[in-house]
Symmetry: C2
Subunit: 123 residues, 2 copies
DNA sequence: CTAATATATTCCAATTGTTGCATATCGTCA
DNA sequence: TGACGATATGCAACAATTGGAATATATTAG
């Protein structure tokens, strides 16, 4: 491990990947109210059963939801409410370009002017 | 448009997709301080230049960062600080299974007991 | 103009995701 | 037990993405 790249970038990326799908997001939104059975989700989203089941499997594998059997139906519910913070934050992303203040870093393995201030631009 | 699936699920999915990559997350983390030139990013992350450039292009296309030329170097900076809320929220996602309260929805296009309470379980 | 440096873009092969179809599994009802 | 309803899973064809290599562009120096 010679080049670390922030902490938990991999895990974060995995989470984003799981959420990077409109149907999965829609399913999670449906589950905001609480438990829902598969047929419900199927009916509301208007997608084929097998497809919904697949997406549920992905969310289940990601440990974001879990299933509970009740007679003939299977109900799903979210076990990580924190994901809603993510969904909400994503929706909050509007086309509002903002500015950010300038940097302040120096690195010897980098040849840019900011990293070699001594032999910087025209003396 | 016969089956809506929440609001902005597509857009949100696109955002998550853009963030669903460890290198891109690492780059954004680097840019938390402010502007950084490509060679900096390259040196810090220890990846090939072309590769970094590709990831920057993706973030740029997503309108999350913009570039500014200064002589021979090109500096990038984040123009949507809100994405940090997303990154932080993702990192906050720990393996802590929580419980969620039961549902409360009824739908006529669904055959499950909760949707057909009248002809529900054994009368 | 030519060379050198910094960064971007294009091309490609390998991997991965998508989606329809068929089928398996499990519980229920008669 | 057998048929049926609700879900899950396996598979195949096709679309999209990924990361590497080579190459192109732009700026500065001489």
């Amino acid at each position: 491990m010679q080049n670390r790249q922030g902490s938990g970038s991999e895990e974060s990326a995995a989470i984003f990947k799981t959420l990077a799908h409109p149907i999965r997001i829609a399913i999670l939104d449906l589950l905001r109210h609480g438990e829902e059975c598969v047929c419900h989700i199927e009916a509301i989203l208007g997608k084929r059963q097998a497809y919904i089941s697949q997406q549920l499997a992905i969310l289940r594998a990601a440990q974001i939801i879990i299933d509970r059997r009740d007679g003939m139906n299977i109900f799903y519910r979210v076990i990580r409410p924190e994901i809603y913070a993510l969904l909400d934050a994503a929706r909050a992303l509007s086309p509002l370009p903002t500015a950010t203040p300038p940097p302040m870093i120096r690195l010897e393995s980098c040849p840019c002017p900011k990293c070699t201030p001594e032999v910087a631009v025209t003396d």
